[in-house]
Symmetry: C2
């Protein structure tokens, strides 16, 4: 057993450095959109550190970074360990970064362990509208054609915007994940919920990852003058959308009572024409729906559609529902979870087990490889926000469990 | 009595030409933001037509265009007649344009009448956030300092963006409206409501113009991860805002039952960070509130504030309410309305009387000069929308009443 080599100082410094490379303002938060300068600088920092400790870097055709020592594993399967560096707009310092930094630190201190550090591209989905794109496309779930159709706010596709960062449709077919090369995937992530922090637990093993469905809902009414159109003569798309947003909140609460850890969220809204003196003719919003079982997702989607239709009919509005994404719930690998538990026991630590409400790259890789995750407590459950924080000693504890696990 | 000179063809052609000069797409609508190229081209067209019929042009220090014949009035007060050419984003072809085109047509056919055509700058308020800026600042209600503080979406102030279009703070003090120069102000405008169209009335005289208050409301909660934050642990700013938007709709309906022609509208919404997988930490929206009496506005504002506070307390959210604008209700000039009625009678027309829910430049000029307005029916009451439409024969009828009025 040897964990003394994990350096708390180095981990803290890595996190601060990557935070400082973001487009950042402590009041507004940290922004590293995929294929932006801050994202590239963060990635380059990890690459430089990996290479300083003997690593060689390969960027795959999907924009994911792989760092490993040339001779590692001697042709036998290696551990894959990492997470992502892209962030939501105005996010925090820990989401994704923590998992990359732990992988880097384990890589630094354990040259004897067959390990590949990975940085996945576009996990958050806020740049190209679909989450975990790097891991999903590497795992073969997303085609080059689909990647060429997903656009960022500048109208550039994942393929166009990623060309400078290694994305290359010609190499994609050959460059998919080869499962025989890997022993398993380990990702450490901030919990982004309250469970660990409120009970003072530093780290936990993740049992399963909720599935997610993403919808875009568009209510259509009649744009009109806000001064001269009587209240009774209106077909206001925004008041319809507002009724729907409250319905979605109530439906999310009912589903959570029926099965724990179900959630429904409206995160984006826009209205047209969006002028203070014009009744909105269109109101468009997203719905993010997560649950532990496919059946809850099916059932919730049906109830959502019925309620949206009811509101549209009552208000004489049009309504369209587009499904942007359907990700199934992912149970994580039980054998790997036992390895985490044994490693924790050898270190004299207890390791509780929790489900994940958030999606992670490990969930996508779990379709190809044994995948395991550790969570680290998030202060007050706050995430995707500049106030996101995890204790450095908790991060170090997770790093020590990872190191002990891969050393076996 | 001589009305035969008003040309229906010329009026129709003027409206089409100005529509074609807009940033336009029949599906999306007509956009002529103040101080944009399309707005300048529309203005230049009217100036060229006025000059072709003997007019001379003066642009005042606030960006308003004045066209009159050099010797007109012989030093005695002249009629002021016009409206505005700026539009809401994706608006229609008639709003504002109709009043300018009628003034131009009367100017063309009645060289004997002492008349000044006016095109007011920034009536809609969608470019600089405050409506009727050209008329209000000319009437002395807005200071150069205030104009320098109002910004468009590019961050340029009314003074900066307007510099190329005649706005000049150094001339403002000397360039205010001199009431002794004018006999009265006449504005023709699309009704933008259903009253005339549904009863088949071509045109009506306006009795009074509703007052308006504009607010910006900001709900503050806690931005957080949409997947890992339980429904019961959320402080979602958008669900609070949605509850407020429905409350505002209900309050508007109650006020309208208490006094006809009261309306409340939420036209703009934005959320932060506006990512599909992040619970909104901030939700900001505008409220547009109109009523016929100051007392209704005071009472409605108080009820609005109480309800917003109640929602914020119940949901553990912060709420701030900023007042962007307070415009008092404006009765229009009774004598001028009688002149309209006499002119209509001489032409063998009936001229019903209606209040205006919408604000207009004439409301601001009414604080300085006798001001009168005619409304022309709007198909289905639709306005601020590409489907905005008024019958050309109705517009011609209004033009004939104006001509008959100024000819006396």
């Amino acid at each position: 057993m040897n964990t003394t080599q994990i350096s708390a100082q180095r981990i803290a410094a890595d996190i601060e450095t990557i935070g400082s490379l973001s487009e950042c303002d402590p009041a507004i938060g940290y922004s590293r959109p995929t294929f932006s300068d801050p994202w590239r600088e963060a990635r380059d920092y990890v690459i430089a550190e990996g290479e300083r400790f003997g690593g060689e870097t390969r960027i795959d055709a999907f924009g994911n970074v792989h760092i490993r020592r040339a001779e590692t594993g001697g042709g036998r399967p290696v551990w894959l360990c990492g997470s992502h560096l892209d962030s939501v707009p105005s996010g925090g310092k820990y989401d994704g970064v923590m998992g990359v930094v732990i992988a880097l630190e384990v890589f630094r201190v354990a040259p004897d362990v067959p390990l590949e550090v990975i940085i996945f591209a576009e996990e958050e989905g806020t740049t190209f509208g679909v989450g975990m794109l790097g891991s999903r496309s590497w795992a073969g779930e997303v085609s080059p054609t689909q990647l060429a159709a997903l656009k960022n706010r500048h109208g550039l596709s994942f393929v166009e915007a990623g060309a400078l960062y290694g994305v290359d449709p010609r190499r994609m077919e050959a460059d998919r994940l080869h499962r025989e090369q890997y022993r398993g995937m380990i990702e450490v992530h901030a919990e982004q919920g309250l469970e660990l922090w409120k009970t003072g637990i530093p780290a936990a093993a993740v049992t399963r990852i909720n599935g997610r469905r993403e919808y875009e809902v568009r209510f259509s009414g009649q744009g009109n003058h806000a001064g001269s159109t009587r209240m009774t003569d209106r077909r206001d798309a925004l008041t319809g959308a507002s009724e729907a947003i409250l319905m979605i909140e109530a439906l999310g609460r009912r589903l959570d009572q029926e099965q724990q850890h179900s959630v429904m969220t409206v995160g984006c809204v826009r209205v047209q024409p969006n002028a203070m003196n014009v009744i909105p003719g269109q109101a468009i919003f997203t719905v993010d729906f997560r649950a532990q079982e496919e059946q809850i997702l099916d059932n919730g989607e049906q109830r959502l559609r019925e309620e949206l239709d009811r509101i549209a009919v009552q208000r004489d509005l049009g309504v369209e529902v587009a499904v942007n994404e359907r990700v199934s719930p992912s149970p994580l690998d039980e054998t790997l979870r036992k390895l985490f538990q044994e490693a924790a026991r050898r270190l004299g630590k207890t390791l509780p087990e929790v489900p994940s409400g958030a999606l992670h790259d490990a969930a996508r890789i779990a379709t190809c490889l044994p995948a395991g995750m550790l969570f680290v407590g998030s202060r007050d459950g706050i995430s995707h926000d500049p106030r996101e924080y995890s204790r450095n000693e908790d991060i170090v504890e997770a790093a020590e469990i990872v190191l002990e696990t891969v050393r076996g």
